[in-house]
């Protein structure tokens, strides 16, 4: 009999928790962006969703990506919002935390779609993209996918918009530049995360095709290993001319620094995930000599980039933006333009179609030149590399991207 009584408690507590959940969700108003200064009373609001790691180990990355969106939304709203089919709209960004976990991204996406009617939901990780791809076409929202993972577009999902440029254009020009200067032997010391593995897989054949040799693979978990000395020592024992490294900027900088301490004099090839300008905060520039990587946004002098960097510094108290911010800023503007072109803020398929039709753009207004959006849904941008020579950034290295 006693067990029966438990059901009363079960029931009451379930009820309680549901009420709690409901009231929690109902009352907590998104603390995201403001509605824009110049929004008139007549302007309607369209919600833009974001689900990314805003707490936990990857929070910094999540915040960086979110900041790009935030700034883009703020700018659009300050400029009077968007005009869609004669109606004024302001954008409202709603950011939810998913701790990098796909199941939480799925929950967040349901929430953003059903509670907030968001037609576009951004996420900066491939796991989240895969989880949302299970139902985004059915629910009718566009995924703004910030990941270079090629598989997200191979699934044939019609509502996936890949933001960053694919990484397979970098290895060749990077390899040529360091090989010419330092030599043909490369040791691999990349991270063990998926992105590093994919990069390595693209990089090695390119290096070998150019006549180089790989002395060994010494991949190390950039986020879990406390000290890289043992790996770097082992890599250097193979007498390489060049080290292939890459992961988050700071750990990558540690690898570079420790390689120098251990007497390495050669060059570095940096995966695009590592940002030279962020690494330079930890390692002196002269230790970065011979490092080739993606050219920092702050190094660009085209009007669009300059304007963006200046605006971002104002937006974030002097902080320098990196490509994460720049691409998200660009992406939200592309979405806004797409909405205007498509004449709807609701139909995700039409919005995506609209986004594909806004090209060509006036290059002066944009951070980087964007050529269009491919049939599969990837944004076709441009990329630039740069090499550190004598403690300074060398000349620009334009990169042709394959689609």
């Amino acid at each position: 009999m006693l067990e029966r009584r438990r059901y009363l408690v079960v029931f009451l507590v379930i009820l309680l928790s549901l009420v709690l959940a409901a009231s929690g969700c109902g009352t907590a108003k998104p603390a995201a962006t403001n509605q824009g200064g110049s929004s008139t009373a007549a302007a309607k609001v369209v919600n833009i969703g974001y689900s990314g790691p805003l707490s936990g180990g990857a929070a910094l990355y999540g915040q960086d990506t979110l900041n790009g969106l935030k700034m883009g939304v703020e700018e659009i709203n300050h400029g009077g919002g968007i005009t869609v089919a004669g109606q004024k709209y302001t954008l409202n960004l709603i950011a939810l935390d998913d701790q990098y976990l796909p199941n939480m991204t799925a929950t967040n996406a349901r929430r953003l779609r059903t509670e907030n009617k968001a037609p576009v939901i951004f996420t900066p990780h491939s796991g989240g993209v895969f989880a949302m791809q299970q139902f985004n076409q059915e629910e009718g929202f566009l995924i703004g996918a910030y990941t270079s993972e090629p598989k997200i577009l191979e699934t044939g999902n019609k509502l996936t918009y890949r933001i960053p440029p694919p990484y397979d254009g970098y290895p060749e020009p990077f390899s040529k530049a360091v090989m010419e200067k330092y030599g043909k032997r490369v040791a691999l010391v990349p991270g063990t995360h998926q992105y590093a593995k994919d990069w390595t897989k693209v990089f090695v054949p390119v290096w070998e095709k150019l006549g180089g040799t790989v002395t060994g693979d010494f991949a190390v978990d950039y986020n879990k290993e406390t000290d890289f000395y043992t790996y770097v020592s082992k890599a250097l024992a193979t007498k390489p001319d060049v080290l292939f490294v890459g992961g988050a900027s700071k750990p990558t900088a540690m690898v570079v620094k420790q390689a120098r301490e251990l007497g390495f004099k050669g060059g570095f090839i940096l995966m695009d995930q590592a940002k030279l300008e962020q690494m330079a905060q930890t390692v002196p520039m002269d230790q970065l000599n011979g490092a080739v990587g993606v050219r920092p946004v702050i190094q660009f002098d085209n009007p669009g980039a300059k304007k963006f960097v200046e605006a971002y510094k104002k937006f974030k108290n002097g902080e320098d933006p990196a490509w994460e911010q720049a691409w998200h800023y660009t992406a939200i503007k592309v979405v806004a333009k797409g909405m205007e072109k498509a004449g709807t803020v609701e139909d995700a398929a039409k919005i995506f179609e609209g986004m594909k039709q806004i090209f060509p753009l006036n290059a002066n207004d944009w951070v980087a030149e964007i050529k269009g959006i491919s049939a599969k849904g990837g944004m076709l941008g441009e990329a630039h590399g740069i090499m550190v020579i004598d403690g300074k950034y060398g000349p620009d290295m334009p990169i042709t991207l394959k689609d």
Binding site: A58, A59, A219, Y229, T230, M254
Partner: protein, 287 residues
């Protein structure tokens, strides 16, 4: 051969840090029977205190390390009082759960207060010594020497002072210790303070050569647990030996066996040890 010598030195550096953290953990376990899962997070806080003392207040490196020791000692005592003391009679799993809670709390708090960025403590001693092909930076040399110094100091304290020997007495026999008039409460707090100071020392030493970030504690705590399980929970010589062995094995393992499965192997060895000798190699008596 060159590589062997280099890896030996690398392993010693790693091992020194491991020893200091594991020593604190084993001391707490020996006295309190608490597997303090949050100990690694004390190490993390220690690193942040050192970092901020140097960068924000411009304190000298050694003074910053000292400050970290003081702050951590207080934090350790607080943790004992607030988290573990009320649970002293609770079942083993409750203490474990409280420790997990403390761990989550400290890490999340660190993220809220200081952000998730990787930070690096400025390096003052950055000269590189070269002996043949062997290379070691000044800071790493300091790590190795200072760790030994701290361990000797701990040993002298435990053996030569009255308060210190009360800790040893309690570790060996809790009931006996209280019978002969040792204040169990004070000893518990003292133990937490000492363990936290060791963690602060480890953090201040390691800070300039590693990166400082909120989950750095979670990484080292697993290793410290491996060490004290192998060395015998509560055993001081076991923790010291285990620390160096793990450090050197890691360095050698990285160079002579596959890197992919090295962690799996480490944990399998641990399971093997626990299965064959469930109380560890250097276990103190029968539990």
């Amino acid at each position: 051969m060159d590589l062997f010598a280099q890896q030996l030195v690398n392993g010693l550096t790693l091992g020194s840090i491991y020893c200091l953290v594991a020593l604190g953990l084993t001391l707490i376990y020996g006295i309190m029977e608490v597997p303090n899962f949050a100990h690694g997070h004390l190490y993390m806080v220690g690193a942040y205190v050192t970092f901020f003392a140097m960068t924000l207040y411009g304190l000298n490196y050694w003074l910053s390390a000292l400050l970290a020791g003081v702050v951590l000692a207080v934090l350790g005592v607080l943790m004992e009082r607030i988290v573990f003391h009320p649970l002293r009679h609770a079942p083993a799993s409750n203490k474990f759960i409280a420790a997990v809670g403390a761990m989550m709390f400290l890490e999340a708090l660190a993220r809220v207060l200081w952000g998730s960025d990787f930070r690096s403590i400025p390096v003052i001693y950055d000269k590189v010594f070269t002996i043949g092909t062997l290379r070691i930076t000044e800071q790493r040399l300091i790590v190795i020497i200072a760790a030994i110094f701290l361990m000797i100091a701990l040993n002298l304290f435990l053996k030569k002072t009255i308060i210190g020997s009360s800790i040893e007495a309690m570790a060996q026999n809790r009931d006996g210790a209280s019978l002969v008039g040792i204040n169990v409460n004070n000893v518990a707090m003292l133990t937490f303070a000492i363990a936290s100071i060791l963690a602060a020392g480890a953090a201040a030493l390691a800070g300039p050569i590693f990166l400082v970030f909120p989950s750095m504690g979670a990484l080292i705590i697993m290793k410290a647990f491996v060490i004290i399980v192998i060395g015998g929970m509560g055993s001081i010589p076991g923790a010291v030996l285990g620390g160096y062995v793990l450090g050197i094995t890691e360095a050698m393992g990285a160079s002579y066996i596959s890197t992919d499965y090295k962690d799996v192997v480490a944990f399998l060895v641990l399971i093997l040890i626990l299965t064959i000798k469930p109380t560890g190699i250097f276990a103190k008596g029968v539990r």
